[in-house]
């Protein structure tokens, strides 16, 4: 068996070993599965559930899967991010009703299931780290996020292939994982994996898999695989000085131009792995007479988002809403959380029905600002 810190080379069959060890330790294992023409995350029972041989082709407003090769992790990122699990679209907060003549408020229990995530991409690790800052590091913590996050076991997968919409290299988040994982895997073209541990629990589990200690050639080969993915990336977002440029360009004509194309559908905020905004809504249970409060994903693209009695929406125009979205991601996020709010996963480009491209919009504003 390999010593704790050394990487290990495992066969594809060890994936099943890994899944069953995680299950035996009480983890609910979630990973990539192919459903309704996309790769999403769901319960995985064995490696047979993984989308082996499926590869995506993505571009502005377009996502298609096709069969190519036999890699387990040949696809890149799909429409759902791990935000769906950690900060779900709907989160009950509490319930209130009369019990034995007394009004009682009961907090919604936190989810104590320990989840193991299989196939988390480097950009998605970065997104989780960004949401950690939002939900755990501020003056108030979100206890539901905290509970799910604390129990997490993360098996990351480095990218050996990138999509046309990827720009993680610009955001410094990929295609190789650097932080926030228990195990990382790099898939080789011959079906084997280089496995690295990033935590004590990861080291322990890795030690139980059948494999052999990696040699320098294996490590170089893994490096070459992620380098190849990095070289494939053509999209670029120049971040140098960008926060200042965006914050000082609120009247740039480009905002009008993009607003004319934007449908205000909010897809970009839903697929974004870092967007965290929510509505808090009251619901009534007519049968029991109880009322309950739930938290649901919200988007700065809606009129309700900034509604104020008397004046209506503060952000009335789609120009101001697109400007809020992009300026928040790329500029004011730095003021609020000390990092960019964009990981370069490209989901907002792919899932925009009209293919609006954040890298192109940022470049347009930078271009004429710097030029003039």
């Amino acid at each position: 068996m390999a010593d704790a810190a050394t990487p290990v080379v495992i066969e594809a069959s060890a994936l099943d070993q890994l899944i069953s060890i995680l299950k035996s330790k009480g983890f609910e294992v979630l990973g990539p599965v192919r459903r309704d023409g996309a790769i999403i995350h769901d319960h995985v029972e064995s490696s047979a559930d993984l989308p082996r041989g499926w590869v995506d082709a993505q571009s502005g407003g377009r996502y298609r899967l096709h069969q190519e090769g036999d890699a387990y992790f040949g696809y890149t990122v799909g429409p759902s991010s791990w935000k769906r699990l950690l900060h779900p679209p709907e989160q009950p907060l509490w319930r209130c009703g009369t019990r034995d003549g007394e009004i009682r408020i009961d907090a919604a229990p936190v989810d104590e299931t320990r989840h193991a995530l299989l196939g988390v991409r480097p950009c998605e690790l970065a997104a989780i780290a960004m949401q950690d800052k939002v939900f755990l590091d501020g003056p108030y913590r979100d206890p539901h996020y905290a509970a799910r996050r604390e129990g997490l076991f993360i098996v990351a997968v480095n990218c050996s292939r990138s999509a046309e919409t990827c720009f993680c290299t610009s955001m410094g988040t990929g295609p190789k994982a650097r932080e926030c994982y228990d195990i990382t895997l790099t898939e080789f073209s011959d079906g084997r994996f280089l496995a690295n541990a990033g935590s004590t629990e990861g080291t322990e589990i890795l030690g139980a898999l059948s494999g052999r200690p990696a040699d320098a050639a294996d490590v170089d080969a893994a490096e070459a695989a992620t380098d190849a993915a990095a070289r494939q990336i053509t999209r670029r977002l120049e971040t140098r000085g960008l926060p200042e440029i965006l914050k000082t360009s609120p009247e740039h004509p480009r905002w009008d131009e993009v607003a004319a194309r934007c449908l205000g559908c909010a897809n970009c905020t839903m697929v974004c792995p870092t967007c965290f905004c929510t509505d808090v809504e009251e619901i009534n249970d007519l049968a029991s007479g109880d009322s309950a409060r739930v938290q649901r994903w919200a988007s700065c693209f809606t009129a309700d988002f900034t509604y104020l009695h008397g004046g209506g929406a503060v952000r009335e125009s789609s120009r101001s809403r697109y400007r809020q979205w992009m300026t928040h991601k790329l500029a004011t996020w730095h003021d609020q959380f000390g990092t960019s709010g964009c990981v370069g996963c490209g989901r907002c480009i792919t899932w925009c029905p009209v293919g609006i491209d954040i890298t192109e919009e940022a470049a347009a504003i930078r271009g004429s600002t710097e030029g003039g």
């Binding site: 108030y140 609120p250 929510t278 700065c300 809020q324």
Partner: protein, 281 residues
């Protein structure tokens, strides 16, 4: 010195406690003041707000309008403007409601020690600054001149008229009121609240201003104060935005880089001006 009190961050900050209305006062049409009791209520600092919820309806931010020197007393003044505030204002004495808080920062009254203090309030904005007025009058010797300028739309919408006349009778606070639209029998000033600034004397180089009211009124007040020579960093105002959480997590209250709920709601004009002068930020 008052300190900002935060709710216990260990507990779930989105879950309210059960509060009760102990006294209901009809101020003017559509505006009520509640005296309330809430378990473990520990007091607040002037300027802070609570999230008040009507079960089955919703929850909204409401400033605390009572004296901070009496930590046992919890007072809110609410104007019915929409679904939640209307349901809230309609609650009777004894009714239960949900409460989370206190949230937000405080009016920096301590920085105004030894200086002239000008309080400018418009409409319901008098309620969120009333704790400041209580503090100034309770610690009157700590401050130089104290001036209150208050504007309402109509005479019959004027809040806290009993207290206003009591303060007017004092010699240690100058109170001037105005209405936008006079009615028969009104002998006072008519015009926007900023027009009152011309009639009062203060030393602009040593003045702190606390402003609360509709955003447009606060903008004009800030401009008038700056024109009079008050430093932008000494002009404080309480901002209103749509709020769903009050704890910096729902994103609704963002104004550029700031979360109004968490970084505010009180900001100085030097910081706010670039954000407020930008349309639809």
């Amino acid at each position: 010195m008052s300190t900002v009190l935060a709710p216990n961050p260990q507990a779930d900050p989105m879950v309210p406690v059960l509060a009760r209305i102990t006294r209901r006062i009809e101020e003017v049409p559509d505006v009520v003041t509640f005296e309330m009791e809430a378990p473990d209520w520990n007091g607040f600092a002037p300027g802070q707000f609570n999230m008040l919820g009507v079960f089955g309806v919703g929850e909204i931010p409401i400033s605390i309008s009572g004296p901070a020197s009496e930590p046992d007393r919890l007072v809110h003044t609410i104007r019915a403007v929409g679904p939640v505030s209307r349901a809230l204002a309609g609650l009777a004495e004894g009714a239960a409601l949900g409460l989370r808080g206190p949230f937000g920062n405080e009016w920096p009254v301590e920085t105004a020690r030894g200086r002239d203090v000008v309080v400018i309030a418009g409409g319901l904005g008098l309620a969120p600054v009333r704790p400041v007025l209580y503090h100034l009058l309770e610690n009157r010797n700590d401050f130089n001149k104290v001036i209150l300028l208050y504007g309402a739309r109509r005479p019959e919408e004027m809040l806290f008229t009993g207290e206003l006349s009591a303060w007017r009778a004092r010699f240690d606070i100058e109170v001037a009121v105005t209405v936008d639209h006079a009615a028969i029998g009104w002998h006072g000033h008519v015009g926007v609240v900023t027009s009152l600034l011309r009639n009062v004397g203060f030393d602009p180089a040593s003045t702190s201003a606390f402003v609360c009211g509709p955003e447009i009124m606060m903008r004009f007040a800030a401009r008038a104060l700056v024109d009079a020579g008050v430093a932008p960093g000494e002009i404080w105002m309480s901002m209103e935005r749509n709020m769903h959480c009050a704890i910096g997590l729902c994103g609704h209250c963002q104004l550029g880089p700031v979360f109004i709920c968490r970084d505010g709601p009180i900001f100085d004009w030097a910081r706010l001006k670039p954000l407020m002068m930008q349309e639809e930020l």
